[in-house]
Assembly symmetry: C2
DNA sequence: TTGTAAGCGTTATCAC
DNA sequence: GTGATAACGCTTACAA
């Protein structure tokens, strides 16, 4: 590949001039600029990203490095999020560097390396846990980041984030179910190790309490992962021992995947799945509204996470952060200007992105802090409840 | 962030020594190495990727830059492939740089830039078209690449590729349908602008001919994209005018998405979907076996593209190519050694990858040239046909 | 308007 | 074993 020297030589100017011409500086004669640009084009010349980056510029790249879970190949949420992040990044004129971490400690290493090696301008965090070291780590590393999710102390820590109001989501579900007459509602969840799983569960409890219904611990089973565990959990719910009145008429699953497992278990036992607290059918709800949710039979009543809108906001925030970081590499706190910028979004949707195609779905977004957004998810009523 | 100078100063050695110690050279005393490594660790030092890359090293990054299609947000195949590429890249100790191209000409620009700026060591191409300029382009740019898919002249061009035997896939479908007694089989496809869409269609024709059945052009409708077009196509198939014997008993759709649209159209018309050439039900088949294929009702009989295995092979090939490229930046053709390496895979699966987790599904792979693999897809029989 | 020259942080090539 | 020093290709003061 040709370098800036080749272009300079052929154009009969210095490399400085080439650099200026190509970077759109004003102090270059139009004639020179034309010539330089033509020659550059004919040589298929593009400035070396490495050289450019080395002298202090940005990489125009952001990273996403989720922790590799078992059976990640089949994890729909991961793929959805990754795909939509890629699209959002593109609209923000950014590239997405996708990696994966093996283990929690490997995660730390990856972020250290990302920060140390300067490969990216910022990172996107997901699957935030209640005590997530990554937040402090990235802060100390001075690597700009945005979180999808939040820790309980998000208000004090003041890191930029977008979260779905998961509690509101399950509350909406339970409200809906209770509204349809359900009184015995079970909750099936995965491991309670992420913030969102805790929020979903607490939304469930809150709503029940609000309706004056008891939370029957025998109707709550968590830590479900493998299909076999779900099978066992369903079996447990269906065998209330002596008293048949303990059998739930509705099952709230913490995610779509789990909901689908539950539905299959019920169907295998000849129990019909669907709405109505009466009869012997059982209502089942999910959470996420992944693409398959509308396809399964019966189609899933679930809570939609507007992932496309979320990734757009995440990148809006990250871009602002990076710009701020670039402007002044010494200031520790966010400049007031950036914060104001972020809050301006409150009114008027998210038209920050450069390119068309962003979700303009007027997602209700609540700003719960400077650069901290809470997206209210929507209940999607289908056939399963 | 600290640099190599900081480490050198603190360790009381030269930067050369630091570099050597950290890069595992043998000519460094064990004592020095220990000290240097400790100090580096304590400073959270990682060599600048830019500086390192500038002096000629690799980036350990490969790019994937698909063309942005309309409604890409909802394109499952894109997300599947992207997610699995990310996982495969990780197993090969590579990062994946994901971008998107706006337009075909933007695609060209992206590859030129990728090559010129040296941001990545190689790229993965997908959606290969019968006349795909990208192959010549990347060749001339000397940017290592692997293609998922192939042009008709792949044998002469000799570029590295992995393809699914799409023709064999639809042949298997038709064989199966004809075996079940179907005689009037329709074909519904998208635009015939990619190699795979052409291959799928030709497989369809081949199989019919092999079974001595005529190809009724009125039963072939292509270029379907929007749901409305599919609706019209289905309507057309169902209104054979005067002669009712022209109505197909089976519909082969070119992909799962289309198959699902067809099923919905049929169901809306009160036509049951399923196997058996008799009765008034119509069999429908898809292609891809995307995650939702098993979820829809009736579940899709389809052809499975083993995407996980494919992306592993793609990256196996790309890694070999890159290594070769690094070794000798002047040689034009592949070294015999690399070719041999690639063909060795023929016997013994694909255990090339460093980390566990690769699909060891013993996918049948036929090598149709040096570094050119053809994966035979599998017919998955479910309820829709 | 243009050119000179000093970095940016590595690794590689020589010396010692 | 270890250390100067020269690239690597670019941007950006500073001069002219």
């Amino acid at each position: 590949m040709s370098t800036i020297f080749d272009i300079a030589r052929e154009a009969g100017v210095s490399i400085t001039t080439v650099s200026r011409a190509l970077n759109g500086y004003s102090d270059v004669s139009e004639a020179t600029r034309q010539r330089v640009m033509e020659i550059a084009q004919s040589h298929n010349y593009y400035p070396s990203a490495a050289a450019r980056n080395l002298q202090g510029g940005r990489t125009d790249t952001v990273a996403f490095a989720p922790l590799l879970r078992e059976h990640m190949e089949s994890e729909q949420f991961f793929k959805e999020f990754l795909g939509l992040l890629t699209l959002s990044a593109f609209r923000h004129n950014l590239s997405l560097l996708a990696t994966v971490a093996d283990t929690p400690s490997h995660t730390t290493k990856i972020y250290r390396e990302l920060a140390g090696s300067g490969r990216v301008d910022g990172v996107i965090l997901a699957d935030i846990k209640p005590e997530d070291e990554r937040i402090a780590l990235l802060g100390s590393l001075k690597l700009p980041f945005v979180a999808f999710g939040r820790t309980p102390d998000f208000a004090e820590l003041k890191y930029p984030l977008v979260d779905v109001d998961n509690a509101a989501g399950t509350r909406a579900v339970v409200d809906y179910l209770v509204g349809k007459g359900h009184r015995r509602v079970a909750y099936l969840g995965g491991p309670f190790n992420t913030s969102y799983s805790l929020h979903r569960y607490s939304g469930f409890r809150e709503s029940l309490k609000q309706h004056g219904l008891p939370v029957d611990d025998r109707l709550v089973i968590a830590d479900l992962q493998e299909r076999a565990e779900t099978a066992e959990a369903v079996a447990q719910l269906l065998q209330p021992g002596e008293d048949n009145s303990r059998r739930p008429t509705a099952i709230v699953a913490a995610n779509d995947h789990l909901a689908w497992q539950v539905i299959q278990e019920l169907q295998e036992r000849g129990i019909s799945v669907g709405s109505g607290p009466n009869g012997d059918s059982i209502a089942v709800t999910g959470f996420d509204d992944l693409p398959f949710a509308g396809y399964v039979q019966p189609s899933l009543t679930t809570v939609r996470q507007p992932i496309a809108a979320i990734s757009d906001i995440l990148l809006d925030l990250l871009v602002m952060l990076i710009k701020n970081e670039m402007q002044s590499k010494r200031k520790v706190s966010l400049s007031a200007k950036v914060i104001r910028l972020a809050q301006d979004k409150q009114s008027g949707g998210h038209k920050q992105v450069d390119k068309p195609g962003a979700e303009e779905s007027e997602q209700p977004v609540k700003w719960i802090g400077a650069m901290q957004a809470l997206v209210v998810p929507e209940l999607v009523i289908r056939d399963s409840a």
